[in-house]
């Protein structure tokens, strides 16, 4: 998935995460994370963000995330939506986790 423009998803509400994805010329993901639970969950949140991008095939992007204690499922959802918007795509494949397996 190629990032073409700035894509944003999420809010600054408690239990949500605001994700901003923008194009980057060079290979790799440049991630900045600010989190209200960074001390306890920082590495875990980074892992979920990077893992979600990888599964979408995003390899070049600059990502800014401001987390207010979102659960992993919310982080995954917000990152996906931001990436689809930034890639100008709306062909999201809806499926449940169970169906995937």
């Amino acid at each position: 998935m190629q990032i073409l423009e700035v894509g944003v998803a999420g809010t600054m509400e408690s239990s949500d995460i605001m994700v901003r994805i923008e194009p980057k010329d060079t290979e790799g993901i440049e991630l900045t994370l600010e989190s209200s639970v960074g001390q306890q969950y920082g590495p875990q949140i980074r892992r979920v963000i990077l893992e979600t991008l990888r599964s979408l095939g995003v390899t070049k992007a600059k990502v800014d995330a401001v987390d207010k204690g979102a659960l992993d499922c919310a982080i995954e959802a917000r990152v996906s939506v931001a990436a689809f918007r930034a890639a100008r795509r709306d062909d999201y494949q809806w499926k449940t986790k169970g169906a995937e397996a």
Partner: protein, 516 residues
């Protein structure tokens, strides 16, 4: 004049407080013939400034000074007094406050300058708490429960040299109140002076600081003049808006309402909900909201409470005024409605911290509780509760009366969401133990209710009731962990920055320095 010889009195040497023969020319016979108005204006306990009152108190380096927290986060007294004390050049003082709040951030500089070297309190919040957690003080902060503090003061083990007690009103002789009887304008009213009463009773020297001097006698009074050495009038003792809201707002948070409703089912089916029961509701959205559901059940079943105890809110007052609660015992008024009620309702009684919760006091009101509903920041699988440090290990709360009420009540219900944001509230082990699990009977969360295995009869009653989703405390912990993930452990230094004391003043846990 005398028809006797003083020396003929037998056993004179065995009598005490007998000071020799009467002297017809003694000072005491010179009558003061001024009017009441002139007397209270010209011959009173009022000192012109805090500085003058401090000088009169004989305060010196290394002594213990005390404060109360009835003005909550609107308190000006602690900062005002400590600024004066610092200016006067005192050092190495112990501050023994009933609690400290965000507004007391300036204490940091007084600690850095060596004016204050020791702190005793129930809790701490904001920048001061952050700084203490980061190792600001050499001597650990001693955190006591309200009952533990009362006991330590009663026995003299926490000896207060000079108490600086803010009051909404006082007369020129020190009869002090947390409200005004003279006017409807209750600007800085805080209601009960329950924690301050301990200090007034036992301090060597007691200074009342007020912004409103009313004519003698300011009766009924929270603190009597017999315990007061001087009175100082200042511009403002506090910020009315931060001292307390008009009425504590009912939570509209659906999660908290669900918890409160479940807690009311727990109470209703516990065996402790009968005509003449007693209760306490702790602070915090869910625990306050329980009162609303309890009220409905009481009306439905035509049940009345003998008394409500504790931090008193407008909801408790409403129930009192509609006849559902016969007596209110008020150590601390949580809002203006409660403060007004203390002033206006005959059976809304102000009590001191020892009456409330001292473990040395067999009649302590907490011991007469059928049930109490208390909030928690964290609960663990041993039912231990933390209300003092946050999930990151930093001090951000207060012990309050938590362990006192939990120990005293026949049934202790702790209410907490299973998680706050991503932070699990039911854990394998709380960060800081404040209330030991042995005294906690039921934990109600939005995702299930757990009963302490040492109360099988309660579990049985709840099971029969059928309307409560019962789970084990371990299941709650596992569920929270599954949803949130396992939090990384906090990074602590070895240095001990605070002690968490149980209500009998034994050390139940320590608070360590967090790595910056």
């Amino acid at each position: 004049m005398a028809s006797f010889k003083f020396d003929e009195i037998p056993y004179l040497d065995k009598m005490s407080a007998v000071f020799g023969p009467f002297d017809p020319d003694c000072e005491a016979l010179k009558k003061d013939t001024r009017t009441l108005n002139d007397k209270q204006r010209e011959h009173n306990k009022v000192e012109p400034s805090i500085e003058a009152a401090i000088e009169r108190s004989g305060l010196c380096d290394g002594k213990t000074i005390s404060f109360h927290h009835h003005f909550r986060n609107g308190d000006f007294v602690v900062n005002m007094v400590l600024d004066t004390i610092a200016r006067m050049g005192f050092r190495n003082l112990t501050v023994a406050a009933s609690s400290l709040n965000e507004i007391h951030e300036p204490l940091i500089k007084h600690i850095q300058n060596g004016v204050v070297t020791h702190i005793e309190t129930s809790g701490m919040r904001g920048k001061l708490a952050d700084a203490v957690s980061q190792g600001l003080m050499d001597f650990p902060v001693i955190f006591r429960s309200h009952g533990g503090r009362a006991a330590a003061i009663e026995t003299g083990e926490l000896h207060i040299d000079v108490a600086f007690l803010g009051a909404s009103t006082s007369d020129p002789y020190g009869n002090a109140n947390g409200y005004s009887r003279e006017s409807e304008d209750d600007g800085t009213s805080c209601g009960s002076l329950g924690y301050a009463k301990m200090d007034a009773m036992h301090a060597d020297h007691c200074i009342i600081i007020t912004d409103t001097i009313v004519p003698f006698p300011n009766a009924p009074f929270g603190i009597p003049e017999s315990q007061v050495n001087s009175v100082v009038k200042v511009d403002k003792v506090g910020d009315a808006n931060k001292i307390g809201s008009g009425a504590t707002r009912f939570t509209t948070n659906p999660k908290e309402l669900l918890i409160a409703q479940t807690a009311s089912y727990v109470i209703e089916n516990s065996g402790y909900f009968y005509n003449g029961f007693s209760m306490q509701m702790g602070s915090g959205g869910a625990s306050l909201a329980v009162a609303r559901y309890i009220r409905e059940r009481m009306l439905e079943k035509n049940i009345k409470a003998r008394f409500a105890l504790g931090g008193i809110t407008g909801q408790i007052v409403e129930m009192h005024e509609e006849g559902l609660i016969q007596r209110i015992l008020d150590v601390q008024s949580f809002d203006k409605v409660a403060a007004q009620s203390l002033k206006n309702n005959r059976f809304h009684q102000q009590i001191d911290a020892s009456y409330y919760a001292s473990y040395l006091n067999r009649g302590a009101a907490v011991n007469q509780l059928d049930f109490v509903v208390l909030s928690a920041m964290e609960v663990d699988t041993d039912f231990n509760v933390n209300v003092l440090t946050g999930s990151n290990g930093v001090i951000r709360g207060a012990i309050g009366g938590h362990p006192d009420a939990a120990a005293g009540a026949s049934m202790t219900v702790v209410v907490t969401p299973l998680m706050r944001g991503r932070i699990p509230c039911v854990l394998g082990r709380v960060n800081t133990i404040v209330t030991p699990g042995r005294t906690v009977d039921v934990v109600v969360t939005d995702q299930g209710t757990a009963v302490n295995p040492n109360r099988p009869e309660l579990l049985e009653r709840f099971r029969k009731a059928g309307c409560i989703e019962l789970v084990s405390i371990e299941e709650l912990k596992d569920r929270a962990e599954r949803l949130c993930g396992k939090p990384a452990p906090n990074d602590y230094d070895d240095k001990i920055v605070g002690l968490s004391l149980y209500r009998d003043n034994t050390v139940i846990d320590v608070i360590r320095k967090v790595k910056a």
